[in-house]
Each structure stands twice: as C-alpha cells, then as structure tokens.
C-alpha cells in the first residue's frame, strides 16, 4: 500500500463552483505529473446551483492505482489531509441540506491536517468561527479577497493557483511546486498564474490549533429516522403558519413570525447579512415582500427583523430599501451569533446605534455575481494587489 491523500474543497454554490472544480482537478493533474493516480469529483448529493449553499468537492490521490481504489471505496472521504475553505465565512460551519445539521468546517481533518482558508482575516478571527476539535490541526491562510463569480462566468483572480501553490508547500509529498506550475501552464497557458502559485508557495505559513482553541459552540445535529419511523407516501406535514412576536422591553405581543423548517437552518449560507436601522425604517414593507426566503419577522410595532435562521444573505433587501443605510449588508465574519437585532434594539437603543455604526464599517468587498459588464476586469487587478501584499 502506498500513501493515500484526500483533500476537500468547501465552497459556496454557484459562486465558487468553477473555482472548486479547478482546484480539485489541478491537484489530481499535478500529482499525476509525479506518477500518482487520482480522481476529482463534486459531492453528488449537493446542489451547487443554489446560491451560497455550502457544497464540497474532493481530490483523492494515491501513489498507485490500488492505493487510490482504497480511497475510492467510500464516496465521501471520512477523513482528509487538507480542508480548503475558499470562503472564510464557511468556517462557521457547513449546512448543506435539511437534516444535515451544522457540521464544523474542520470535521473531516485528520490529526495534524491543515485547514486552508482564503481570507483577509487573521487566524484569531478564523478561530472565532471554526469549532473546537479534539485533535490538533494546522491553520493556514491564503491571504486575499474571497473569490466569487456568477453562474456562467469565472473570475480569474488567481485564487485557484495560489491555493495550489500553498498545497505544494503543505503537502510536499503530494506534488512539487514545479509539477503544479507545469500543469498550470499546460491548462491555462499563463506564466503569470504560475508565478502566483510560486508566490503563495513562498509565503504560506501555518499555526497549530490546539484542542482547546476555537469556537466553543456545540454544533446542532439530527438523528435520521429509521424507515419504520418515517411517515409513508413521501408526504411531509406542513410547517405551522407562525406566531406573534413579543417585545422584550414591554412584553407587548403582536406582529408575525413565520415558523420555519426546524431541520434546515441557513446560518452558514451567508457571506454577508443585513443589519437594520429600526429608527429610520419607514415600514414600506419592501424588504419583507421581496425577500426570496421570507426571512423578515414582523415585529409588534410593524418593523422588519431579518431572522438569521432563514436569511441566505442575498442582499435583495438592501437593494430594494428606499432609505439610505436603513438596510445595509455587512460581511458575515463580523458576527459571532445569530441573535435578533430588533430585540437588541428594543433593550438598548443607544447601544444598538453604536453596534450598528461599527458593523456598517465592514461592508463586504465580495459580490455575488456581477452587476455590470466589465466589473470583474475592474476588480481583478485590485484582488491581485491584495494577494501580493505581505
């Protein structure tokens, strides 16, 4: 038996589908340069056509065909050498579909494995999000603006090759920088991309994460029912309509909070979330009406509170809100919990005002898809610049 390597890429549906595929394919091709055998595949049960939903791709490599087959016996690897999170907000966890629960980003990492994250954050910020693990592992950050693109286009900001260069350093037994540079030029005929890989190879460094470090939250999970415990006829009882809300200050009740699917929360589907200035809201209803996920709860006084169980962070509310800075999208890394903003505002208006002003500073640099022709061409030089910074 030779050595077996397993690498997973956790990515966001639609926006990073092509990025993830380019990474897993290139891992196999680079390893094959050195005589190894490998396969690259996306997890079939995922639906990568859903906006922002966490999904996975894998590269499995063996020193020889027999070793590779050992790794292919299970479709989704049970442990991996490297977990690549191509968006740092994925470090909050992975909720891919109903009943999946909240699975920590580092769940599949072998002891001593590496969590590789693309981010502009420092390791401390990443560890506030990533759950604690019983065994130590390494955290490495490929510094850069998180790469998002649209359904039909790919934003070639070198994130793919920078990650590949970093892997050559992290797992030197898998492939060398020379091999990965060769397949980069073979595939994309761009020596500048090969240089980006080399730069990432030189700069990547990692810190060791000890079992006590990380997000102390206990991730929620479900036990799937046995066949005879399930209802028959593929029929699912509807979710009850909903209830009124209670004002935490006055205990007055009113408004409407729809009940939501208890087995599919969207806490980790977002890369950004709306924050609401309740003092300037004119109750026009547009955010509530346009939200594709019905995420807004109606408060007793007729305000709209974005419920983080349902918000996918699409930004439609911000786009339709007619009041300046009443609804503002903020980078998801800025939040440590999913608490109600309205309740915080009701309890302490001055405190909320200060909190809001602080959050609004972190408007996301990311975008889902592009809003005008030529946007990516404008963004890419800046992203490459960020990548070159020390």
């Amino acid at each position: 038996m030779g050595r077996l390597y397993a690498i997973e890429v956790i990515y966001r549906g639609i926006f990073q589908k092509t990025l993830a595929t380019r990474i897993t394919r290139s891992i196999v091709l680079a390893a094959h340069e050195e005589g190894k055998q490998g396969i690259s595949f996306g997890r079939y049960g995922d639906s990568p056509e859903r906006n922002g939903i966490p999904a996975k791709g894998f590269a499995i490599v063996g020193d020889d065909q027999k070793t590779l087959e050992e790794g292919m016996a299970k479709y989704e690897p049970k442990d991996v050498d490297v977990t690549i999170a191509v968006d740092d907000t994925l470090c909050k966890g992975v909720e891919s579909w109903a009943w999946y629960g909240l699975q920590p980003v580092n769940k599949l990492l072998k002891p001593g494995g590496t969590l590789l994250v693309t981010s502009r954050q420092q390791p401390e910020a990443i560890l506030q999000m990533a759950h604690r693990k019983e065994t130590p592992y390494d955290l490495a950050i490929v510094k850069g603006t998180v790469s998002f693109s649209g359904l039909w286009v790919y934003k070639d900001d070198h994130t793919d090759v920078r990650i590949l260069g970093a892997i050559a350093k992290i797992l030197p037994g898998l492939f060398s920088l020379k091999s990965v540079q060769k397949i980069i030029v073979d595939q994309w005929n761009d020596p500048v991309k090969a240089e980006s890989a080399a730069r990432a190879y030189e700069r990547i460094s990692s810190v060791t994460v000890q079992p006590g470090q990380g997000n102390p939250e206990v991730p929620y999970k479900f036990n799937l029912p046995k066949w005879h415990e399930m209802g028959e006829g593929i029929a699912i009882p509807s979710i009850p309509a909903g209830t009124t809300m209670e004002d935490p200050a006055t205990h007055a009740t009113g408004g409407f909070r729809p009940d939501r699917n208890p087995t599919f929360k969207k806490y980790t589907t977002r890369t950004m979330r709306p924050v609401v200035n309740f003092d300037t809201c004119i109750k026009c209803t547009l955010c509530w009406l346009q939200c594709p996920d019905s995420c807004f709860d109606v408060t007793p006084e007729g305000l709209y509170d974005a419920n983080m169980q349902a918000c996918c962070g699409c930004g439609v509310c911000e786009a339709v809100c007619p009041v300046k800075e009443c609804v503002t999208m903020v980078n998801e890394t800025e939040f440590e919990d999913n608490a109600s903003q309205w309740e915080a505002w009701r309890k302490d208006k001055a405190g909320y005002e200060a909190w809001l002003a602080d959050k609004i500073k972190s408007r996301p640099e990311r975008s889902h898809g592009f809003r005008y022709r030529g946007q990516y061409e404008e963004q890419i030089p800046e992203m490459l610049q960020v990548a070159r910074e020390k």
């Binding site: 049960g45 579909w97 009943w99 799937l224 029912p225 046995k226 066949w227 005879h228 399930m230 209802g231 028959e232 006829g233 593929i234 029929a235 699912i236 009882p237 509807s238």
Partner: protein, 409 residues
C-alpha cells in the same frame, strides 16, 4: 308495485348479464361508486371507457369523467385525484400504457391506490391490436400489484377485490388488472352482477386519512429527497408489498362470504393437478385452450394439469414452488418475451425458475414456451405440442429451455 320498491329490489338482487370483460370492469366501477375516471382511447382498453361513458350518460353512474389529452395526463390526473381522497379508475393498452410510464412509476412510490385496467396489447412496432403481456409487465418491479384474469366474471370480481386491497391503509399501492385484448375485452359472456348492497358490505369507503391532500390537512407530497431518504422510502414500499398477501387473503375470504363465490387460492388456480405427472402454466385467457387440451390428453391417458397464475405481483413464490414440486416437469407458456433474459425465456418462465431455485422441496425441470404473441391463437394442438415437450423433459430427455410454439417455421 311502487317504483321505489322496484328499484330497491333491483339493488338487492344479483342479476345475470351478457357482457364483455371490459363491460364487466365498467360495471365494477359503477358498483364501487368510483369518483374520478380519466380516459384516452386506445384499443382494446377503449371499450371500457366507452361502457363507462354509457353508464354516465344513462344516469346510472355519477363520477367525474375526464378525457385527457394523452395517457400521461390521464394517469397523472387520477393520481392527483386519488391523493385528494377520490376513488379512481384508469387504464390503457400497449404503447399507451408505455406513454404513461412516468406517471405509472411515481404512483406506487406515492402510495396511491389507483386501480387500472390494462387491455393487454402487443407493443409497437408493428402496430398490432392483439394481445401480448409485455405492456403490463413493464411495471412489475415498481410496486404495482398485477393480476391477470381469464373471464368477464373474474374481471368484475377482481376489480372489486382490487379496490378493497389497494385502498387498505396497510397497502396503499396501485393495482393493474390485465385483460387479454380481444379474447376478454371484446367477448361477451354471462356474468353475475352482484347487488349494490353486497358490494357496499364488501367495499368500505376509501379513507386516505393523514395522507389526504386537503387544505385542512396541509402536507407536501413528493418533495425532492437525497440519498439520506430514498432507501428508507423504498423499504416502506417493500413492506407494503409484503403485506399484500395477507390483505389479499382476507379480501378473498370476505368475497366468498358475502358474494358466495370462492376463488380458492387467490394467487394461482390449479386445474386437474391432483394426479398430474406434468403441469402447464400460463396467465390470462390461454387457460381455455389449455384446459380443453388437457381434457383431450387425459382421454389419451396423459396426466397433464394446469396452473394459471392469477396474481403476478405479489408473486406467491413459496406456495407455487411447493405446489410445482409435486410434478415431474413444468411447462410455462408465456404470452410475452424478454429478449436476452436467462435462457431467452419469457418473463413468467424466468420468475417461476427463480421461485423454484430457493425452494426447499423437489425442483422439476422448467421449460419455457413463447406462444400467442400479437394475438395469435394458442390452439389445442399447440397445447399438445407443449405437453409433449414437457413429457420429454419429465423423462429426462434433453429439451431446449425455450421453445417457440405456433410459429411458421
């Protein structure tokens, strides 16, 4: 006599009528007070839709009668109506049945107790009206209950039994009643029509309970499911099909009690098997020439019996294997084909061999015969030829495992 009394008397009395197999099914639909019927013409099934149409037009039957724009819609409409709690009837033939295939596939998965009539017809091409069993057999793995009848009387009775079993909460699976095109669908025979009172006593109302699609019972039916769920859902259907045997036996016992007509073993019917050396097997109306042939051969001292499979799904494998173990050889006549199957035999033959393989008792040789395709007659000399080959096998002489009978060669 007052009219009301006359009507009441009619309701309470059995009658005899000269009707076709299709008409018998139509009468069963009337007696079962079916709520929603969808139709789309294709021969030979279309006879049943014509008869139901006539019953509705004459004011004898009250139902929603919808002529769809094709078989796929036809089966989809009743599927949905049945999910809403309506007792439904549907049917088709040959490639019409195939055109509905997507709807036929999802119906058992959703546990819809639809009752359908298949007027068995050869699949195109060539376009032919005559009987072959391949149309109905295409759903044999999907969770449909499949039954073959050989007389108009049995068609009527089986339709009532099909509603009773399919709509049982323990089952909730669809049932297709196969009637051989022409020989059954277009031939009139004397049929005892039971009284409405007796039918009401036998057949309870369809109650979909917690699975009923209704604004007062908000449910989502048929959502997308991933690999976390599909296997458990299939296992539920497996369990439902497993329960059919028990519920079917209950229904046949009750049928006998209420209507005074016994079918014996519900799953297969034996003819002249007590002292038989060899037996022939088959499904549907070929039973007539086989029985006649057997009587002729018995006058010549040949002890031949016949086993007619009635219920193909569920397949009473253990009972059948035990019964067949009594004979020296078995000859199965298939009115179907399964090209490339084990030994190139027909579908029934392959199933019988499979049932025999794991049987604890004796395993006589099983020969397969393909006959009567496309509506060609299975004649008494054909039956004698089959029996001759089976006798050869019984005597240990080599015989091809699959033979074509009645072919120009």
């Amino acid at each position: 006599m007052a009219t009301a009394t006359l009507v009441e008397e009619q309701r309470a009395t059995d009658k005899t009528a000269l009707i076709t197999g299709s008409e018998a099914i139509a009468v069963a639909c009337k007696l079962a007070d079916v709520d929603v019927i969808t139709a789309y013409p294709i021969r030979p099934y279309d006879t049943v839709m014509q008869y139901i149409c006539k019953l509705v037009a004459n004011g004898e039957m009250d139902c929603e009668y919808i002529v769809a724009e094709g078989e796929h819609s036809q089966f989809e409409i009743v599927k949905h109506a049945c999910a809403c709690g309506a007792r439904v009837f549907c049917g088709s033939s040959g490639v019409g049945w195939m055109y509905a295939m997507e709807a036929l596939t999802v119906t058992p998965a959703l546990r819809i107790p639809m009752v359908a009539m298949v007027g068995n017809r050869a699949l195109d091409d060539p376009g032919a009206f005559g009987v072959e069993h391949n149309d109905a057999l295409t759903v044999r793995d999907l969770g449909w209950q499949l039954v073959w009848v050989d007389s108009a009387q049995e068609a009527l009775d089986t339709a009532l039994i099909a509603y009773r079993v399919s709509e049982d909460r323990r089952i909730f699976l669809p049932c297709a009643i196969s009637c051989d095109g022409a020989f059954l669908t277009h031939s009139q025979a004397l049929v005892k029509i039971p009284s409405q009172e007796k039918v009401n006593q036998f057949l309870p109302r369809y109650n979909r309970a917690d699975l009923q699609l209704h604004p007062d019972n908000p449910i989502t039916v048929a959502p997308q499911g991933n690999e976390d769920w599909v296997m458990e859902i299939r296992r539920q259907n497996y369990a439902a099909m497993e329960r059919v045997s028990l519920v079917l036996k209950e229904a046949y016992a009750d049928f006998d009690r209420i209507f005074g007509r016994s079918y014996g073993n519900p799953f297969f019917e034996e003819y002249e098997t007590e002292d038989a050396d060899i037996v022939l097997m088959g499904m549907g109306t070929l039973s007539t020439p086989v029985r006649v042939g057997i009587r002729k051969m018995r006058t010549e001292g040949k002890k031949v019996g016949f086993v007619r499979m009635r219920w193909f799904r569920p397949f009473a494998a253990a009972d059948l294997a035990e019964s067949l173990g009594r004979f020296k050889a078995v000859g199965v006549i298939d009115r179907d084909y399964s090209f490339g199957s084990p030994y190139m035999s027909g579908v029934l033959t392959t199933e019988v061999r499979s049932a025999m393989y794991s049987a604890p008792g004796p395993k006589p040789p099983v020969l397969g015969f393909i006959a009567g395709l496309g509506g060609r007659e299975v004649t008494v000399p054909d039956v004698e030829k089959v029996a001759g080959a089976v006798y050869q096998a019984a005597e240990g002489k080599s015989q091809p495992l699959t033979q074509w009978i009645g072919l120009r060669e």
